[in-house]
Symmetry: C2
Subunit: 103 residues, 2 copies
DNA sequence: AAACTACTTGGCGAAATCGCCAAGTAAAGG
DNA sequence: CCTTTACTTGGCGATTTCGCCAAGTAGTTT
């Protein structure tokens, strides 16, 4: 059980930390298109299922995600529709496109 | 010298990481009101000046901050005016006010 | 130019995070 | 009920981050 945060600053930081990892940010991005079950997320991110599950628990504990169990599957969805505009802001800071810029 | 990022994902993550610490988020918040010199920031955040300086370098390297030297002082300012709206989003995820809600 | 102010950088031990493996839980199917 | 599927949790070594101390750099003042 995650401890309650002592301050609103800590809560904000927990939410931001929950996005501050390549796999977790990718999860957030893919969930912008709608809910996904853990196995779908694993297919996209790769790596051990337990690793994915722990990333999801970090995001859950921060309050970023809601989950719903249906049958054998667990479906996650974003609680934060405004994420998209933040990512646009983030990208506006580093506009030179992507991969190690060749000519 | 910070290495160039291999992907746009890494760049995004670096920017988000640069906000994912209580002192650094507080710095970002205070810079929303306008530029500040390092000593002003130190007065607000507290702790060793070298620690503040390293936090600022993380934010600089991520591209969050611009700096300008004037006289003996170094003034930092946000390169990201859209930060504010993201923090509103973050707070909307945890609306129950602040500090460790006692009964 | 020597002393001072305002920072930055190097170094290091302490703490947090990461990802894999193994083991545990819960719903569905045979 | 026993097995299978889908996921979660515990544990642990490896890497990363954190914050202080000490030392270095760059303008300023005297």
């Amino acid at each position: 059980m995650p401890l309650p945060y002592q301050s609103s600053l800590d809560r904000r930081v927990a939410i931001i930390k929950a996005l501050a990892h390549p796999s977790r940010l990718s999860i957030a991005e893919m969930l912008q298109d709608g809910e996904r079950c853990v196995c779908d997320i694993r297919d996209l991110i790769g790596g051990d299922l337990s690793t994915i599950s722990k990333h999801l628990s970090v995001m859950r504990d921060a309050g970023l995600l809601d989950l719903e169990k249906r049958g054998l599957n667990v479906y996650y969805r974003l609680r934060c529709p405004c994420l998209l505009s933040f990512l646009e802001c983030v990208d506006s800071l580093a506009p030179e496109g992507g991969e190690a810029n060749g000519p």
